[in-house]
């Protein structure tokens, strides 16, 4: 009886194994290569805080596809404008226009933000309406004053391209291209746009900055202005040497206007207390990203610093961190202003804008 039982069990095992083998033989294995991010030293400790969705891990194939799509003008209705049209690599993925102009020649009302270290951002757009890079990437394609396209058209265009079919198959295991896969790929590429190699980063790492000592002395004086609550008090919103993102990732009304033509966060939340608030931008690579503010009203860092020094305007939602509003601001001395600007310039990472992995493939 025991022998009969053993024989039955063995038979079942062979049957099961045999079934599995047959099924596997018909399947093509989808096995993309994990993309290994190499983080700059100042960002290494922050790797656990990166926001990478479980359903969109970085892969070599996905990043390569996202890079191609980022520079793909066929995402726009007339084939003339890619993401890189407004987010130019040599401008730290911003542009030097006050407002970006879409394919129909219509300008928007917000300044194009740079694309740097987005994996650590809690929200995107000046008003924070996108909670992920994937969400953000869905919008410009169909925005009537940007790419003015339809996702169905984009999907058709890409499906009819054999190269794209193969690239999507390699990245996502399917040639059935849809908008979600397009934005997933673009998001993967954008998550690789990491900057952490400025002169100030090198200083923090104990490396030579490449700057003349007298200039870096001004940088360090500027850091003091930046960090002093009774002077610049920039750090509450823009971070500090322990925060390599140089933003607090939240929203403030920084005293630009007494009344608001653009409600910013308030238009998203519907709360009056959020009117006139915009997300704090990173200070990284400011040298490349003029003009400044959500509406690009300031053409130079000098104008920006003068705003906080003497140009603040009161309003019902002005941030409590804005100082001496009655006097227009913190009244920095010419030396403080000069040093503060030197400090901000030290956050420039030229290697970021020349990185060959970030250019048009």
């Amino acid at each position: 009886m025991a022998t009969a039982k053993h024989s039955l069990i063995l038979l079942l095992v062979f049957f099961i194994v045999g079934c599995e083998d047959d099924d596997m033989g018909d399947m093509e294995v989808f096995d993309p290569t994990p993309f290994e991010l190499v983080l700059p030293a100042v960002l290494e400790p922050f790797e656990p805080l990166m926001k990478i969705p479980d359903d969109n891990p970085l892969t070599v194939e996905g990043v390569a596809l996202g890079r191609k799509l980022f520079f793909e003008p066929r995402l726009s209705a007339d084939g003339s404008l890619s993401c890189a049209g407004c987010h130019i690599p040599s401008k730290s993925f911003a542009e030097n226009e006050q407002f970006s102009t879409g394919i129909d020649g219509i300008a928007g009302n917000r300044n194009a933000q740079n694309i740097v270290n987005l994996s650590w951002m809690n929200s995107l757009f000046w008003d924070g309406r996108a909670k992920s890079i994937e969400d953000q990437a869905l919008e410009p394609v169909v925005n009537p004053i940007e790419m003015h396209n339809r996702w169905s058209e984009v999907e058709h265009e890409l499906r009819s391209d054999e190269e794209y079919r193969q690239l999507f198959k390699a990245a996502f295991g399917t040639e059935d291209i849809d908008s979600m896969l397009v934005v997933k790929a673009i998001a993967q590429f954008e998550r690789t746009l990491i900057s952490g190699n400025s002169a100030f980063d090198k200083y923090l790492n104990g490396q030579p900055t490449g700057w003349r000592q007298e200039d870096f002395d001004a940088v360090l004086r500027g850091l003091d202005v930046f960090m002093a609550e009774e002077k610049g008090d920039c750090f509450h919103c823009h971070g500090d040497p322990t925060n390599p993102f140089w933003t607090d990732n939240i929203f403030h009304n920084n005293g630009l206007d007494e009344t608001f033509s653009d409600l910013g966060l308030g238009a998203i939340t519907g709360s009056e207390s959020d009117n006139g608030k915009f997300k704090t931008p990173t200070l990284r690579n400011l040298l490349f990203t003029a003009p400044y503010m959500h509406d690009g009203r300031f053409n130079s860092l000098e104008e920006v610093v003068e705003h906080y020094s003497t140009g603040l305007k009161n309003s019902p939602t002005i941030d409590p961190l804005m100082k001496n509003i009655d006097q227009g601001g913190v009244q920095l001395s010419p030396q403080d202003k000069s040093d503060l600007i030197m400090f901000m310039k030290s956050l420039t990472d030229s290697s970021f804008i020349t990185n060959p992995d970030f250019q048009d493939p």
Partner: protein, 255 residues
């Protein structure tokens, strides 16, 4: 044969039960977490409402309230403590941060108090040591002693001209400027709350902050005089420390 197997299994079950009884002392542990809530003038905090009054008579609102709690401990009846190491960042505008739940388990029994540090003790208050706090721009400037903020309390108040003005009450290390140089003083607050309670099941301990108490007892704080640039103000930092001993209470212990 079936009967045999049943007998052997029954024996094994009984044997394992009896072994367990012999080895274990029957003290159970239960999960415990903490819920931090906020009120002003005894009312549940409503953000952005210019409706609260402090001891100095200032009408004020709260727009931001963030603070740091560390080294929570529970005191047993015999005076020994259960130390729950770690820290927690509370942001009143983000409900997900008001519950401090790090998987703590606490032995059943009678307890007489709850203690915690508001901020960090000096040995924990190390600039740049906590990546999550760094990403929140929570650092305290090196020129003021470094480490981290303990609190950011911000909002608006009605000033002496009946205009609406802003305040930012930030707390951290206290820098004293003396003739012989800067002296950095610890400014964390040891909060000790006497409360008798029994842990006999999973528990949530509710801690409540009365915001207006930051501005009273023993020091009456007038927002017309102390509204902004509080961080480098040594006397103001010490006032906050003194007043901070009377800000928290136990709201409830829910089991």
């Amino acid at each position: 044969m079936k009967n045999w197997i049943c007998l052997v299994m029954a024996f094994l079950v009984v044997f394992s039960w009896s072994c367990g009884d012999d080895d274990e002392v029957s003290i159970e542990s239960f999960p415990v977490n903490f819920n931090f809530s906020s009120e002003a003038n005894g009312l549940q905090l409503e953000l952005n409402e210019l409706q609260y009054e402090n001891e100095a008579g200032n009408t004020f609102s709260v727009e931001k309230l963030q603070y740091l709690i560390s080294d929570v401990s529970l005191t047993r009846e015999d005076g020994s403590t259960v130390d729950l190491e770690g820290y927690h960042f509370v942001d009143v505008t983000d409900p997900s941060t008001t519950v401090y739940d790090k998987g703590f388990t606490v032995e059943e029994g009678d307890y007489t108090g709850i203690s915690f540090v508001f901020g960090f003790r000096d040995e924990d208050n190390i600039t740049g040591a906590y990546t999550d706090l760094n990403a929140l721009s929570w650092s305290w400037p090196e020129m003021l002693g470094g480490g981290y903020h303990f609190m950011k309390l911000e909002g608006r108040y009605v000033d002496t001209n009946t205009n609406t003005a802003t305040y930012a009450t930030h707390m951290g290390n206290a820098r004293e400027i003396t003739a012989s140089g800067n002296v950095i003083h610890s400014n964390f607050v040891e909060v000790n709350l006497e409360q008798s309670f029994t842990i006999n099941g999973p528990a949530t301990i509710g801690i409540i902050m009365e915001i207006s108490n930051w501005y009273s007892n023993p020091h009456t704080w007038d927002l017309n005089l102390l509204n902004n640039t509080i961080m480098p103000n040594y006397e103001a930092q010490i006032m906050l420390n003194d007043n901070g001993h009377n800000v928290f209470s136990v709201e409830a212990i829910i089991q």
